[in-house]
Each structure stands twice: as C-alpha cells, then as structure tokens.
C-alpha cells in the first residue's frame, strides 16, 4: 500500500533532527526535507518561527488524506508518535511490557534530563566565545564555576548511569540500550551520545577511559547503517558557523 500521509520534516543543520530522519527511514516512510541553516550566532533562523511559534527544530508536519494537518514538535514526542502510528510491521515492537516501558522512559529521560545538561554546558561555552560576551578570563572563571558546581557533576552522574545500563546490556550480549534490537531509545539517545564522545570531550576529557561501556555503545551505534546513511544524506548541509 502506498503511503497515504504526506510527511514534511523541517530540519535545522547541526540539530537533534537527524534522529527523526533516521527513524522515518527505518519505518520506510517517505518525507520531504526542508532545510534551515543556523545563524552566525549558532541559533535557529527566523524562518523556523513561521513553522512553529517556538522556532524549534525538528518539526514534523503530517497531512492526512482528508486534509487534516498534524504538527509534531519535541523529539521525544515525535518518536513516540511515529512509533505508535507508523510501525505497521512491528519492526520496533518490544518483546515485553518492561522493554516497551523502558523505551518510553528513554524518550522522556533523554530530552528531559540528559540533553538540558549538554545545552547548559554549550550555552556557557558560548558565553566565553561569542559576542557580546567578552572572551576573557573573568567570564571563563564564572562559567567554569557554574559548570564545576552544577552541570559537570550532573553530567558525570548521568554518564555513570548510562555506562551501567550499557554494561548490563553488553553482558546480556546486546549492543542496544533496551532488549536486543534497535529501538526508539537508541535513536533518541544517539544525538547526545554522539555529541558527548565528539564535541563534548572538552567538557570531560577522560570520558572514553572512565565510561568504556558507554564508549563501546557509542562505537556500535555509530556503525548503525541507518545512522550512517542519514549522516551521509545531510553531510552537505552540515556547515557549522562556529568553531566550538
């Protein structure tokens, strides 16, 4: 049966939106990709405000055959909605209720706990590098203090937590976060996990040594064909306006 619903993804470069494209591909759904580029201050451009009042990315717009339009924002909710409505072959169906609950939990955890810590660190990092902030030791020292007192220890706690879950999964012979197949949990976690082991290393220089099971998880994740395909698809738009 040809896909009846028309899907548009509003996508900002260097954003959490990659994950949604990955999931749409895994679900064999067709979609139109609308691309937006960051401003020189690393923010979303004004055009995204016309798509959704919060000017966020990703935004998924689904047009039903009867003309009804459903607009989805919040990555965790988008993943939940797509899995609930479009996994017609049960590719992402979990083996039991516990695993299914665990996937849903990760959809909330990733965006509600892990990602805000990384955003807080990024905002503080930018505070020492981007006008109108002075690139001097005073701003640096205050930001360092805030990071040392709050964001650093909180991130550490989360890395340890995730490392423990990855260890338990590896011990069971699974390279995924829940059960033993790719799930929404891996897809939602991919963005922060990749950023922790690439751009995030300046925040925590010994992340690979201290959290080897999470690093192994990251390595396996980065070899997922679906993720590699998406990376390739969007590579030509991934020009960062800032060296962070």
């Amino acid at each position: 049966m040809p896909q009846e619903d028309k899907i548009v993804v509003h996508w900002l470069n260097f954003s959490r939106a990659q994950r949604i494209i990955w999931l749409l591909d895994e679900l064999n759904l067709s979609y139109e990709l609308k691309i937006y580029e960051r401003t020189k201050e690393y923010r979303a451009p004004k055009e995204l405000d016309e798509v959704h009042p919060l000017g966020k990315s990703p935004v998924v717009e689904i047009t039903k055959p009867d003309g009804e339009v459903i607009q989805l924002v919040e990555s965790g909710w988008i993943v939940q909605y797509l899995l609930e409505n479009y996994d017609v072959d049960g590719k992402f169906k979990q083996a039991n209720a516990q695993d299914s609950n665990q996937v849903n939990y990760f959809l909330h955890y990733t965006e509600g706990t892990l990602q805000p810590l990384l955003v807080g660190l990024l905002v503080n990092q930018m505070a020492t590098k981007v006008p109108p902030f002075p690139a001097n030791w005073i701003a640096g020292a205050v930001v360092k203090g805030i990071n040392a007192k709050y964001y650093g220890p909180e991130l550490e706690k989360n890395l340890k937590y995730l490392n423990g879950i990855a260890a338990a999964q590896h011990a069971k012979g699974s390279k995924y976060m829940v059960g033993n197949k790719l799930s929404g949990a891996d897809i939602i976690l991919s963005f922060p996990i990749v950023s922790i082991f690439t751009t995030g290393r300046s925040v925590h220089p010994t992340v690979i040594q201290e959290f080897p099971e999470l690093y192994k998880y990251y390595q396996n994740l980065s070899q997922e064909k679906g993720l590699k395909d998406v990376d390739e698809k969007v590579a030509k738009h991934e020009r960062s306006p800032l060296k962070l």
Copy 2:
C-alpha cells in the same frame, strides 16, 4: 476492588514531585509518601542516590501482587504511565485523538523545553548567591549576560506561546490547557507555571502584565481543589534552606 498494587512516592521538598501526588489523588490511588529534605546548597540529599542512581525526585515505586517492582522516574513519563495504567474510570480520557495527543505532547514539552530554561535560570541565580561563587558584580554581570542572551529570550518565547494557547482555550470557555477538563497537561505544567508567577517574577518582572491569559490560567489552576489539598498536605515539609 481494593487497590492491588503498592505505590511508594519518594518525594523531595520544593520539587516537581507535588504533581505526582496530585495525580495519584485524582486517580484515587493509595500511596506511601517518603520525604527527603534538600541540603543547604538546595540539592537533593545523598539518600535519594540509594533510591535511584540519578538521585532524582520524584521516584515512584510500584510493587505488583506477584512481587514485580516497577520503578518510574522522569515526571512526564510517570504521568504518562499512571494515566495509561490506572485511569480505570476514564476520568482523564480525552474527547478525541487530537486532545489525547496534545496531552502527551505537553508531557514532553514541559520537561524537555520549559523546565530546563527555569533550571538554567535557577542555576545561574544560585551562581551569584551560594558559595563557592563570589556574591559580587562580576559573577552577576556574566550571569546576566548569559541570561540576556539565551535563557531570557527563550523563556519569553515560551511564555508568549503558552499565553496564546491559554487565550485560545479561554476563548472556547475552557480554563484548562487541553479540551475542557483537567488533564495530565495541567498537572505537568503546574509546577513551572506556579514557579513562573511566584519565584520566577524576579526573572521577568512584568510577567503578569505581559501574559495576562497565562496569568488567568495560573490563577484558575491554583484554585484547583486537588492542587490545594496537596499543597496543604506537604506544607509542613516545605522549608527552603535558601532565600532565593
């Protein structure tokens, strides 16, 4: 039928956990309340680390008659789980799929977008008041810069967005965020909305004048019997170790 599942709520004073108690009361569920008090640095105490590795509150523990224990964290997920599993009378059942989706969206939005901005502002506010940060104008100026550049405008955008939704609901004769009855959306939003109009006013002094529809929503929400009952229930434990 007497309630078969045993429910324990691990609750930190001055935290997002009030909402879970409110929902449990609305669902007529019995639960045991375990209370934890904040440290003098306004953080969760170490004992919460023994409940869950992230040391978070709220944590809900459900023990099934067969001994299975389900541990729930992340407020959005806890609300989703409780509504999916314990709304036996359909008290929170929505009128249609659109409203049901909108409630689920708010469970992600509140914790994934709105609350992290308030946490970021709180962390920065503490950075100028709590040791080891210096309570001086340098830290204050840097923090003010970060707030002016990121947290302030983002919060403004969200307040405008929520004010618009409240306005549309009020125009339809509803005092709630979705449909025309109390839902998980109101319960999850209650904590940040209350804090915006009480503790948050220093961040945005004209919040009442600029966002009158959201203020009206807040006023109605604060008159909800269930919320007032919870406030009364926990009032004796609500001692803040800090004047913020």
